[in-house]
Symmetry: C2
Subunit: 394 residues, 2 copies
Amino acid sequence: MAISAKLKASLSRTSWIRKMFEEGARLKKIHGAENVFDFSIGNPFLEPPETFHQTIKDLLDSKTPGQHAYMPNVGYADVRQSVAAYISKEQGIDLSADDIIMTCGAAGALNVIFKAILDPGSQVICPSPYFVEYGFYVSNHGGELKPVPSTPDFFPDIDAIEKEINSSTRAILINSPNNPTGQVYTKSHIDTLSELLRKKSAQFGEPIYLISDEPYRKIAFDNINIPGILSSYENSIVCTSYSKDLSIPGERIGHLAVHPNAQDRPELMQALAMANRILGFVNATALMQKTIGRMQGEHIDAGIYQKKRDLICNGLQLAGYTFTIPKGAFYLFPQTPIPDDVAFVSALQEANILAVPGSGFGAPGHFRLSFCVSDETIVRAMPGFERVMRPYQS
Amino acid sequence: MAISAKLKASLSRTSWIRKMFEEGARLKKIHGAENVFDFSIGNPFLEPPETFHQTIKDLLDSKTPGQHAYMPNVGYADVRQSVAAYISKEQGIDLSADDIIMTCGAAGALNVIFKAILDPGSQVICPSPYFVEYGFYVSNHGGELKPVPSTPDFFPDIDAIEKEINSSTRAILINSPNNPTGQVYTKSHIDTLSELLRKKSAQFGEPIYLISDEPYRKIAFDNINIPGILSSYENSIVCTSYSKDLSIPGERIGHLAVHPNAQDRPELMQALAMANRILGFVNATALMQKTIGRMQGEHIDAGIYQKKRDLICNGLQLAGYTFTIPKGAFYLFPQTPIPDDVAFVSALQEANILAVPGSGFGAPGHFRLSFCVSDETIVRAMPGFERVMRPYQS
């Protein structure tokens, strides 16, 4: 066989998002791109803030010697200092540059974390629905992802999580604002989860990490507060990217932040730095590090996405769809009117509407819509949404 | 335990290069940076070509919508087309954009390749001395690296390699111009290796890949020709980075190129694309892809490194050191006058000279010098080199 047996098995589970992408290309060829309503992909709609290009140019014009050379694997000290200062304010806990590692986006950060903490047979628990790539990130490093169904309004079911924790559990991975539901966890959820992990870590004699993947933190609606995990739990690691904050997902820049009082922190930081190096990232790209170091706190206008949320929610509500209103991110996760979400998504395709079945997120009976599209796409797709729903209305 | 047992074991094998880096920092504090002669690190000495910054600025000024957004995981089609056109000329074989995947440097490319082709227990053979990180790249994905000692002048020992090939062998990894020896393999070496792999692939009924890691291809001396592997063997993959070509190692941009007639090529390309995605690279950074897409064939002046090679080789020859003259890259790998290379490197440290023991490359009895330093560093270090060698001279 020409390829790895393990990867071959993964290939056969090709992601739904990818399948929709291909179906979209097919439909666009037939009907014209403007007549296909593509809600399948989470590619940020906006361009980066004006300051992004100017910051890059300023850095280039500085002609700083060695500014494209290797730096420590964890990233530039001054950039990590800027990040630490910003997160300290955001999370209400004092961090220093030593708590930060610059990464190749949040996907890179998660791989680095799992490489650093997992062994064959390790378990990572994750509330579902969940971003399906998490399963690969965990299995890359020998672990197994255990999704635990959330409550019907997409909050973590902490009793159900408790039942799944065992001596192999190394981490709970949360994602708030959530992809695919747009839900934002409350401080009470974080605190209850933290108490549980403290208890279970003591019971099994090993730290169980709380890992928060937060790439959508800056896309929050209705002035909602997004509670951090660092102020609630010591064995916690936050990771994020600037992909959505600055609308630059192609540039692959992010960071991870470790709680300063994490158990065996020096060894953990060493392990994370080594994982960053040997997984082949080596370091986050020099120019993007320096750029975001100068842009801490800047982000695109989330109000634009909030308006799109309102537009799509109002439309779908009138059309008879049932859903939990997203409080952040740019996803909506409505119920399908029939249990077979794949069949319903196929019906939407007949109306040239591309969505992703909930099965692709471990939650059949739902479908995901990415509303990072033009207002026109939302408006023009509505008659199709209505038509497909009509047979199921009483 | 707070970290992975597997990674903890790796941490204890902390690289020699890292140890030297720390020793260097200590010595520089005591003696002043200008009095410590640091030959331990391969951080390119030069700044990028002038055109590098202008190319980035032109791209930013184009204000192309979505130029920082996600693109296909394998990279932009137009960039892959430029790379394919260039490599086709370089390697004397017709490649198309479909044969190229843009990667996060060569380290990223190697991890992607090993993720795509290795299973637990797979073996990868590599002539030694070798870049020690290769061992981690292979073991990240469940494989085991089997170093096979080279001939005394650092050419691959093909009979010895043949003896090590078994049914678990998935690839031979070569690196020419070589780190740490500066050796360049001849076309005859490549052809003989290719014949061997053809025979062994047929014997075991599975393709054994020839993988060539070529980040130093553009740093070649005395107009030497560096033969490619693609024109010799079908199941071959070339990977490289622009780190040394353009003196931009911090920017993490590279690519891999697969032979168009590789066995089960479509499946192999799918596996590589998926590995690139799920390892967390997602894609090579957008801006750097577009930049190098416009700079194919441009590179720094290798003549500058050739002068440094001559300077250090002449000095060390007079001082009584024995070595094979490097034909490329920016490393010299002399013999130590005593078998204990770690002891000899410690003696050099007494003269404020930082080098890396050959043990760090699987070749005790040698030490590595990186001559990507200023001419002044080479000249001012010579009295120290002479003094340390004197006791061993007849």
